[in-house]
Symmetry: C2
Subunit: 165 residues, 2 copies
DNA sequence: AGGTGGCAAACAACCGTTCGTTTGAAGAAG
DNA sequence: CTTCTTCAAACGAACGGTTGTTTGCCACCT
């Protein structure tokens, strides 16, 4: 907390004129990260072909991670240390986000664009591969975000059993 | 440290008759986790078809994660808090392990079993999807480890552009 | 006799948070 | 235009507790 205070030129205790507790700050942080993911997902038009929607979602997801590397790291881990009640709120939003992936895959299967046995597991697989990027991706590295998004999209489309290249 | 001590029926300070520091314990933990991953990878015969080798490696990887859920969690995260010198040792072993994936994919491409543009990125993608399982997989859940390994192997083979089903 | 392993106590540093007080600016009253 | 009041924001010290580690001492086994 004293580090946090120093970052805004305050004394440790002075923070508590603005916040209720350290946990409140953590929740706010994690919750806003959830906002980011959800809002980009909701911005994708539903009337596009599943392949296109998925490609866009992949790019958007990677963009959010890259743009908020630190927040994403906290988002993926630290929510487990919230009290159960707050944890549930985060879990609900995470599940909602996961639902976007499932829904797109589901739609693609129905349209004959994808061929997937277990939609739930496939969505989890894809999200797993995407989420891990926060471990190693650095915007200042060799790989452009656009290049990464392109390459990962291709891999993911094949994972989901797309026919065309 | 006092929790650790209680787990072996000792007083907090008594630990220091056996260990040098908390960091030493962390390193030992993380390093032994690396042992687990590396040893199962090295146990896979090199003269098998790439598809078979990869399937075995996937199953073995998931088995290690499932068997040592807690250790795996620490392995994936906590090594970042070691001093740089020890971090490098872990990184080296992690890279060696990643090399197994790369090598198998590379071999598969040469044999015409796989079709992959960027071997390095493909290996990273596969490992990412596998590693994330520690976040959600619980051995006591509905999904058998064997079922998970089977399903993930199929997805991964498609990711790598395998022809046959 | 010597070394090992254990204990209890203590160490300094740090943790999240509270407390009484000071500051400075805005608004009301004269 | 001044004076007085109000109020939020910040300070700095302190609280009780925890952290990783060190110390001196005693008991046991060789």
């Amino acid at each position: 907390m004293r580090d946090l205070a120093r970052a805004v030129n305050l004394q440790g205790g002075s923070l508590y004129a603005h916040i209720a507790s350290k946990e409140e700050v953590l929740f706010e942080l994690v919750n806003r990260a959830a906002d980011q993911f959800l809002s980009v997902a909701q911005a994708i038009p539903e009337d596009l072909p599943a392949k296109e929607r998925l490609t866009r979602l992949v790019r958007a997801h990677l963009q959010v991670i890259a743009r908020e590397l630190d927040n994403a790291t906290v988002f993926f881990h630290e929510w487990k240390f919230l009290r159960p009640e707050l944890q549930e709120k985060i879990k609900a939003r995470r599940d909602e986000y996961e639902g976007h992936f499932r829904q797109i895959i589901e739609a693609g299967v129905k349209q004959g664009e994808f061929e997937v046995e277990d939609v739930r597991l496939a969505a989890l697989f894809v999200l797993s591969a995407l989420n891990w990027t926060y471990h190693w991706y650095r915007p200042e590295g060799k790989l452009t975000l656009e290049e990464l998004a392109q390459a990962y999209s291709n891999l993911i489309l094949r994972t989901l059993g797309t026919k065309a290249a």
